[in-house]
């Protein structure tokens, strides 16, 4: 074979691979595509791989999901169970539940694939959460990447709902309780709630339709949209080129790292197998959603510890801590106790999603940013993000209040009251604390630049004083620590011009000036060291 191609090549003919590529280029134009992408540079940093964790777990979910569809029956017809799991034999259950038991007990490897599918889903959502926070805290959402931030956010939200619909499919007692909760939440919508619920469930709850309907949403509609968004997300990552942290040789106009071919082809390709391997091992070791232990769904049965999967946990927290307000007027009921949480639920998510646009409005900065911020150098943003996370996690805690109660011997009522207060208090405290920590770190950086690094060497001076020797930083370190930009607060300018005529200032302008002051005023950032300061200190004292 090889001698064959060699002889052909010697005769002046291109090798087989090249000929195939030529064929494809003539039809698809692959050479032009490869020209800009084959040696595309990707910077090395572990946090830049979080997005890959998401992408790979999504691919794993699709692969395993396709396998599961080969055995799953999305039907709510009642059948009697005669499979190999003894504690359910002879029980009435829907075909959906029956086929899930079949996958778990009678299809060899079926349980493994089910568990990989579900673990990958939990990790997918957790990965998206962490990836989103990485992008947030490093300011990677700034121009030109706002659109990609929105794509990513949509992927997270759609991922939540894809997960929820999938979790409901086996029609087990736990997920059925979740679907019932959803029905109750829809009923609370003023005016149209009852109609929406009847249309969704094909009549009264639970009816015989929702598994089939959720099935097409779960395996086709939502993942289809997500796949499209993910491809767009990825194209934009290629198009914008990856961001990088400041450092020697790294500027806003370049990207420093390793080429796609061969290093990232091997690293990213290999990482797919690593992710798949880890998830497969987890699915071998740890059980997830053992539906046989929960039993088939019946609307008159329930178990304590009824929670959704973690990504829906914050909505569970919202609904658990809300006081039971209800207004009855003119023959109608406004179920605020359910409807308010239903409204806050998207608001929690939207709060973080719109932040990039608010920040860009406050800074008025229209330049492209490819150098990442260290979180400490954007104290207000970092404090906002930390406050949001604390808010989210307070609600997540609230969603598991019964589990905390039993495992830490607390009163469930006390936890609920704690979460009710913490909902308002904890984000504020987190904001203040985070901002102070950031400023402290900025001061330390400044100190390091001006006075050098603490070497740990103690020296005694001739007159008896002890001092610690500070080593001056290398130019690399000096550059890295001073590379960040610092904004000045926006000013409205004089409200009266030189002729004494009052200028009209819009409310939005005033708000913006105020916000800008809060972001970049004296209390919100430590001025970074200047060359003059550095020179004065180094020349004045010499090096300690």
């Amino acid at each position: 074979m090889s001698t064959n191609t060699e002889t052909e090549a010697r005769r002046g003919k291109a090798p087989a691979g090249e000929r195939v590529a030529d064929w494809a280029d003539g039809r698809l134009g692959i050479y032009s595509l490869a020209k800009s992408n084959m040696r595309k540079i990707f910077p090395d940093h572990w946090s830049f791989m979080l997005g890959e964790v998401c992408m790979y777990s999504f691919i794993i979910i699709i692969l395993t999901g396709v396998y599961l569809t080969l055995f799953f029956h999305p039907s709510m017809n009642e059948v009697e169970y005669h499979g190999s799991y003894i504690p359910l034999q002879g029980q009435l259950m829907s075909e959906a539940f029956n086929s899930t038991l079949h996958i778990s007990f009678d299809v060899r490897g079926g349980l493994l694939i089910r568990q990989i599918h579900h673990w990958a889903a939990l990790i997918f959502l957790a990965g998206m959460f962490v990836h989103m926070m990485r992008v947030f805290f490093t300011g990677a959402f700034r121009k030109p990447r706002e659109v990609n931030w929105v794509f990513g956010f949509l992927l997270f939200v759609l991922g939540m709902f894809t997960g929820f619909t999938g979790y409901s499919l086996p029609d087990d007692l736990l997920s059925g309780t979740g679907v019932r909760f959803m029905e109750g939440a829809i009923l609370s919508v003023p005016i149209v709630g009852t109609y929406l619920s009847f249309f969704l469930f094909g009549g009264e709850f639970p009816g015989g339709d929702f598994v089939a309907r959720f099935y097409s949403v779960h395996i086709l509609l939502l993942p289809g949209i997500m796949l499209g968004l993910m491809v767009a997300h990825l194209i934009l990552v290629f198009y914008h080129k990856h961001t990088q942290f400041a450092g020697p040789g790294k500027t806003n106009n370049n990207v420093v790292g390793m080429p796609l071919l061969p290093v990232y082809m091997a690293k990213a390709g290999g990482f797919f197998f690593l992710v798949f391997g880890v998830i497969a091992a987890i699915a071998a070791i740890a059980s997830i959603n053992p539906i046989w232990a929960m039993g088939p769904y019946r609307p008159d049965m329930v178990s304590t510890g009824a929670q959704p999967d973690w990504y829906m946990g914050f909505s569970e927290g919202l609904i658990r801590v809300m006081p039971g307000w209800e207004i009855n007027l003119w023959g109608h009921t406004l179920v605020l106790g359910v409807f308010i949480p239903l409204v806050i639920f998207p608001l929690v998510l939207v709060t973080i999603a719109v932040y990039p646009f608010i920040e860009s409005w406050v800074t008025g900065d229209r330049r492209e940013h490819h150098i990442l911020d260290r979180p400490r150098n954007a104290p207000t943003r970092t404090a906002f993000g930390a406050a949001w996370i604390s808010w989210y996690f307070v609600l997540l805690m609230g969603g598991g209040n019964d589990i905390w109660a039993t495992h830490f011997h607390l009163s469930i009522n006390a936890i609920t009251w704690f979460v009710r207060c913490a909902f308002f208090v904890v984000p504020v405290l987190t904001f203040v604390a985070t901002k102070r920590i950031c400023l402290g770190l900025q001061r330390r950086d400044k100190d390091k630049v001006l006075h050098g690094r603490e070497s740990g060497i103690i020296k005694r001076l001739p007159h008896g004083e002890f001092i610690e020797v500070h080593e001056p930083l290398s130019q690399d370190a000096l550059h890295t620590l001073t590379a960040h930009e610092q904004y000045k607060p926006a000013e409205i300018g004089p409200t009266v011009d030189e002729n004494g005529v009052e200028r009209k200032v819009k409310g939005s302008q005033k708000l913006r000036a105020k916000l800008s002051e809060a972001y970049y005023g004296e209390e919100s950032q430590i001025p970074k060291p200047t060359v003059e300061e550095y020179k004065e200190i180094t020349s004045g004292h010499g090096h300690h």
Partner: protein
Amino acid sequence: MAALVVLLLALACTGGLYAVFAPASKAQADDTAQSLAIDEGKKLYSVGCASCHGTGGQGTTDGPSLVGVGASAVDFQVGTGRMPAQQPGAQVPKKKVIYTQAEIDQLAAYISSLGAGPAVPSKAQYGPDGADIAKGGELFRTNCAQCHNFTGKGGALTHGKYAPSLEGVDPKHIYEAMQTGPQNMPSFPDTTLSEQNKKDIIAYLNAVNGDETVSNGGLELGGLGPVSEGLFAWIFGLGALIAVAVWVAARTAKAKKS
């Protein structure tokens, strides 16, 4: 040494002989044994229980009346160590049992002499023979799971009270708890949850939460559902993947300069 072995053998033989012949004489001695047990039980009661439940079991502000609770309730409360209670709290927890089974039986005999109540169930009642596990599962999900979780891992109630885990609990005690409704647990008397129903429930629990229960998927993670699964996914799932990512992205060690 040999003497010791002989002595032990002799003791074992006498014990065996007694066991063989005792039942014959037992019938005659039954009434006396019964009243003896009541007397002994009364003594134990006045030392260990009367301060809260009153000298005649009529109850005080510190403890409920025991008239008519039956031997089953005593066997459950004392046999699981809940009674005597140690300190006030939302709920009296399970503790180390401080009475021997013989003493518990004497206490039970005394309490049932105060007023008729459910008797201690026999092994035939809570044993696995003739039980329908699947029916037990359905009954468990209808009557028990709302407090004790799908497979009896326990759960929270109001103001610090809780439904305890049923793991490793003696089937007899489970039966007694259903019969008598200890503390805040409602009772499930035979009139509404038949003896067969109770047997089925116990058999189901043994199948899904016994020593030999197979957790097919692997680590059970407490059997608590999505909260522990979510924690596991974050800490071990994402944690492991981040550790791998750090390795993938880290710089390879450089050759040392000489």
